[in-house]
């Protein structure tokens, strides 16, 4: 998940996105977070 993905979310304001672009190295801006899906099953069935 990169900064362009973050920009889709209203919690990421223009001010915050601007701060992120200023402080985070350009080569990191396209991988700021990892979106993961996990599944688990409760034992005992």
């Amino acid at each position: 998940m990169g900064i362009d993905d973050c920009a889709l979310y209203p919690l990421f304001t223009d001010e915050l996105l601007s701060t992120m672009r200023r402080l985070i190295p350009a080569e990191r801006l396209d991988r700021l977070a990892v979106s993961a899906i996990f599944r688990a099953r409760r034992h005992g069935a």
Partner: protein
């Protein structure tokens, strides 16, 4: 005197304030994660305020008649989609701690003609459902908002029936690689 070393109340207040203030509709998040076919029968109110981080429902094993808990339902997009899959013989409990979100979910379910979505107000660290009462717990971008994530997972295990499934989508960040100005920004906690 007890001290809130996890700053739970502060984090909760921050999340509550941030999400309650969101009013601007946008389909961008929904269109990123869901196909046009999936969104076809979901009311605009739910689509326009979707804030999930992935499409975990494609992985969730939901069978007709299942009882489902949508942990942090937000505006209800996943509750609506899950309710269609479990069908009229099943039930979706849509849990959120924000009345504004529950109201949107209720209106969306009504517009979708679904009678098997029941909004319930509560905290994910203290789910107001009985032990072993749910077949599938789903959650999309919500567990990360809790200052007590282990407690949330323990609550999910408590309400799941034996053999029941938890299917969660969420975000992780490598904290040491992000500057403190970003990590400590309220949006980093709320988003």
């Amino acid at each position: 005197m007890s001290r809130d070393l996890l700053h739970q109340d502060e984090v909760r207040a921050l999340v509550r304030e941030a999400y309650a203030a969101l009013d601007e509709p946008s389909r961008a998040v929904a269109e990123k994660h869901y196909s046009p076919e999936e969104l076809e029968d979901v009311p605009a109110l739910a689509v326009d305020h979707a804030l999930g981080v992935a499409n975990h429902l494609r992985r969730a094993r939901i069978e007709p008649g299942d009882t489902i808990l949508d942990l942090g339902c937000g505006s209800g997009i996943d509750s609506i989609l899950a309710a269609r899959r479990t069908g009229p013989s099943g039930q979706v409990f849509a849990l959120d701690f924000l009345p504004e979100m529950l109201e949107r979910t209720a209106r969306s379910a009504q517009k979708a003609g679904l009678e098997n979505v029941e909004p319930i107000e509560g905290e994910m660290e203290a789910i107001p459902l009985a032990d072993a009462s749910v077949d599938v717990v789903i959650s999309n971008g919500v567990v990360n908002l809790s200052p007590r994530k282990a407690r949330v997972l323990a609550e999910c295990a408590r309400v799941l029936r034996p053999g029941g499934e938890l299917c969660v989508a969420d975000l992780t960040v490598e904290e040491e690689e992000l500057p403190p100005e970003v990590l400590t920004h309220p949006a980093a906690w709320a988003g």
